[in-house]
Symmetry: C2
Subunit: 143 residues, 2 copies
Amino acid sequence: MTRSTLEAAVAANHELFMQTGDRIEAVLAEHGLTPATAQALWAIDPDQAPPSMKTLAGRLYCNAPNLSFVMNQLTDRGLVERSADPADRRSRVVALTDDGRRVRAAVIEATLALTPFARLGDDELRQLVDLLGKALDPAPEGA
Amino acid sequence: MTRSTLEAAVAANHELFMQTGDRIEAVLAEHGLTPATAQALWAIDPDQAPPSMKTLAGRLYCNAPNLSFVMNQLTDRGLVERSADPADRRSRVVALTDDGRRVRAAVIEATLALTPFARLGDDELRQLVDLLGKALDPAPEGA
DNA sequence: AGGGATTGGTTCGAGGCTCGAAGTATCTGG
DNA sequence: CCAGATACTTCGAGCCTCGAACCAATCCCT
């Protein structure tokens, strides 16, 4: 039966997520971050073009007011900076500060050290990422 | 490098969790449930002995006051019943009502229909559950 | 048996998270 | 130029989570 296997997959994914969150809680607090702010910080890749608020809200599955609230905290904390997008001045793009880059890297580092996924070997991990990717991709037809 | 693969695994796990939560939001609302109450309801398996508050709190990675708060909502909603454990009357065990069983089943059914994991085939799903299980098990030495 | 320490739950109050409604600034199409 | 749409913010309400304080039952040690 696929059904019980599917339920097991959802349950295991949930459990892993909760355990990871639980384990990094203390590290986040050390950096003055909450789960919500840490998640938002993680979502800003310093190697990509700074995303707009709208883009970020989609990425985080939250709405605009919520993201404004969270971004205000990160701004107050000096980890990100908002600036108007010259191409469309309604839009505001969010960029990491130097401090933001450092804290983000530290949070990711700590997470990778503490997450239960770290238990898996290299091959298993690759296999796992492949499977999770298949679940996520809507239609991975070749470009 | 394991590092980037590990990061991808954590990110995919997070993304899958968020997407699943996002998609079942409306169904939960139809049943008068919030994310927190739904999660708690899910955690009570009707085929197992009714868990104590302490057991449930551990299962949900929350503390006692929080669980009391959530359980009050489920109780008010008529989905669970609390009763003293005869073996240790400090402890209170939580059992699903008939209605609770029905709603729980409906929520799980809807989740399995909507989760991105449903995209995967039977073999992939089994493989995935196996990998996630390996990450979770602290030490799966044979009994 | 008696009494202090421990444990399981609850209540209460504070603070964080999320959302809908309303408002401002900017862009777009006619 | 103006009406409508879009990106964002502010505000207020409600939900979620936690620590502190409290109660009741159990345990342990003498």
